[in-house]
């Protein structure tokens, strides 16, 4: 039985708690609270109730028949996380963490966001539970995702632009950590991905694992069996861990994480630390594969999708790679865009650019597989937020 992390938050050599002493007290408090409530019947009941009535779970699985036929090979099934309230899987986790914050007596929540999906999901639950909400977002990302910025503001959140470093997700995370350490008494930091210091990688995985749990029940109903492979995009890796987790102990199911190949691995402009076997290092509270220069400085990444534009990756993915349980590949910007348009065209579904990376990899391998093979792709989010980006790339000014 797969049983990670260990009690100190390690996935093999990865993970751990690499933070300044000023945060250790808060992490101990969080760890204790999570251990107390994760199996508490009242907590679980409230969480499930909100997942059902507020988020709209369970999300369906959909057989993309026309697209599969077009590709001419394996049957592609989509886990429809794009149909969740707020439009992505991110809300599974923010509902969980906000309910925990409520029990811990923290009236203020903060978050970092890249594409804005986690920021929106956090602002949403903060409004739902009557909490103050501050979201840190790189100023470069704010330009790319102006609609999500406005959405967060509508929901009552304060969005703070981060101008330091590369002005993207990693810098927003730095800034949120600084806020947390300064306002530790009244503030809960809702991290949006399976990274950060323990217990975040485990807790965010647990809250998202509802995705895979549902798939295990739904796939036999839909396809008559479990899939041959589960495919998900990986930035920090929360949607992938969510859908992978229940399948880890089923050796017949391949797990494939798709990183952002950006302008191509050879260009150096990508966000694919696992695929490229980057050096292992320490950033944002955990040990993992990191895109860095020879002196240990974190380097700027590139992806067309802001949600995958991150130099590290959740420590559990690092461990699944090393242990051989999951395989990691990269899909370039242009391949992701092609899959984006194909899904619009053949299925009437506008996918998020992040999820389009997973779709593109499915489209790559499906034609070489028999027609009775089954691929399950986690369609982690919808693409409404990406209209401006896709239009711009297509030379259209909205």
């Amino acid at each position: 039985m797969y049983n990670y992390p260990d009690s100190s938050g390690h996935f093999g050599p990865y993970g751990g708690i690499y933070v300044a002493e000023t945060l250790m007290g808060a992490l101990e408090e969080l760890n204790a609270a999570y251990e107390k409530y994760r199996h508490d019947p009242e907590f679980v009941a409230e969480l499930n109730d909100d997942l059902k009535h507020f988020v709209g779970r369970p999300s369906p699985i959909y057989h993309a028949k026309r697209w599969s036929l077009q590709l001419g090979g394996a049957q592609i099934y989509l886990k429809r996380e794009d149909l969740n309230h707020t439009g992505a899987h991110k809300v599974n986790n923010t509902v969980g963490q906000a309910l925990l914050a409520k029990r811990m007596g923290k009236p203020r929540v903060i978050a970092e966001t890249g594409a804005g999906q986690h920021g929106v999901a956090t602002a949403t639950v903060a409004a739902r539970y009557g909490m103050e909400c501050v979201v840190y977002m790189g100023s470069a990302d704010m330009q790319r995702q102006a609609q999500n910025v406005y959405r967060m503001k509508l929901l009552g959140a304060t969005v703070v632009p981060v101008e330091s470093g590369s002005k993207t997700l990693k810098d927003a995370l730095n800034e949120a950590m600084r806020d947390w350490v300064t306002n530790i008494e009244n503030t809960f930091y809702i991290i949006g991905t399976v990274a950060g210091p323990h217990p975040y990688p485990m807790m965010v995985r647990d809250f998202n694992s509802i995705v895979g749990k549902e798939c295990v029940v739904q796939m036999p109903e839909m396809a008559g069996r479990q899939p041959d492979a589960v495919i998900a995009c990986v930035g920090g890796g929360s949607n992938a861990m969510g859908v992978f987790y229940s399948y880890i102990d089923m050796p017949g199911v391949k797990l494939i994480g798709v990183e952002a190949g950006g302008h191509g691995i050879a260009s150096g402009q990508h966000a694919a630390p696992l695929t490229t076997n980057s050096k292992v290092g320490v950033l944002h509270g955990n040990r993992t594969y990191l895109m860095q220069d020879e002196n240990g400085q974190i380097i700027e990444t590139h992806s067309i999708s802001a949600g995958l534009d991150y130099p590290g990756v959740g420590p559990e993915h690092a461990w699944l790679k090393d242990s051989g349980r999951a395989e990691y590949v990269a899909i370039n910007d242009d391949e992701a865009l092609r899959a984006f348009h194909d899904l619009c065209h053949f299925e009437g579904i506008i996918p998020a650019l992040e999820s389009s990376h997973a779709l593109a990899y499915a489209a790559k391998i499906a034609p070489g597989m028999a027609k009775d093979k089954v691929l399950l792709v986690n369609l982690s989010g919808r693409g409404d937020k990406d209209m401006a980006t896709v239009a711009r790339v297509s030379g259209i000014n909205l």
Binding site: T22, Q292, G296
Partner: protein, 266 residues
């Protein structure tokens, strides 16, 4: 006896407290760092904390982050910082130098190689902000073997169990973070520090330095009365940032001289 130990012993005999200024190596320019270090000693620095620039300084406020960015623009890497210490040691064999920074640049160099180089160039202590004791056993084993003191932070929120853990691993001195926040924040609570230090002393026999949020002579003096050493970082870095390049050394020297006088009055 190590240079850090000797320094605190001598100060104790004279009933004085240590002034520990912090600068980021390579800020404002790699060529100015060694001169700046000598100038700090000239006006009374007892120990120098030398910041190793890092791209993602999570525990620092904007002032020290900008110093890191200025240094990184000049391409200052960990091996350059070690070379600066070697150059400093050419003329100063007695002032302790503590490297302060984040773990990843050391990880990239390799801990054993790093510890060997530290011993060669005359680094006395290493403070790795994001390596708490739980994650430090292997890494700091390398430092111990080469006679380099691992310096640890303690915070207002550190539990007794963890204070005891730090007491076992720490050498040289411990660095008590005087407020909840990042470096350079302004909400210093002297009463809280006064209440906390005697408690720390029940577990810690090493000298205790206090830092984060010390911004002027008055706060430096007040804090010095409560502990064994005063660390001043952001205020000095701010002086560097606000000075024309040709005035950096003179302006920083003037500021540190004032701080020294204040600490000596404590």
């Amino acid at each position: 006896m190590s240079r850090i130990q000797t320094t605190f012993e001598k100060l104790k005999q004279r009933d004085r407290k240590a002034l520990i200024p912090f600068i980021t190596a390579g800020d404002p320019h790699p060529a100015s760092t060694v001169a700046l270090m000598h100038a700090l000693v000239e006006v009374g620095a007892d120990i120098i904390e030398l910041g190793v620039p890092f791209s993602d300084p999570m525990a620092d406020g904007p002032t020290i982050q900008r110093a890191s960015e200025r240094a990184l623009k000049h391409g200052v890497a960990l091996h350059d910082v070690l070379d600066m210490v070697a150059q400093f040691r050419g003329q100063d064999s007695s002032t302790p130098v503590v490297l302060m920074g984040y773990g990843n640049p050391i990880e990239a160099m390799g801990w054993e190689h790093f510890a060997t180089r530290c011993a060669q160039v005359g680094v006395d202590g290493v403070l790795t902000v994001d390596f708490p004791p739980e994650e430090s056993h292997e890494a700091f084993g390398h430092l111990h073997r080469h006679g380099i003191d691992p310096i640890f932070l303690l915070a207002p929120t550190t539990s007794d169990a963890r204070i005891a853990q730090v007491a076992k691993l720490a050498r040289g001195y411990v660095y008590y973070v005087s407020l909840k926040g990042v470096t350079g924040a302004g909400n210093l609570d002297l009463t809280a520090i006064a209440g906390r230090i005697p408690h720390l002393r029940q577990h810690i026999s090493l000298p205790i330095g206090v830092g984060f949020g010390i911004r002027d002579a008055a706060t430096a003096r007040a804090v010095a009365q409560l502990c064994d050493g005063v660390v001043v970082g952001s205020r000095i870095v701010q002086e560097i940032e606000n000075s024309k390049e040709q005035n950096v050394v003179a302006n920083v020297a003037k500021l540190v001289k004032e701080l020294k006088a204040a600490v000596d009055q404590a």
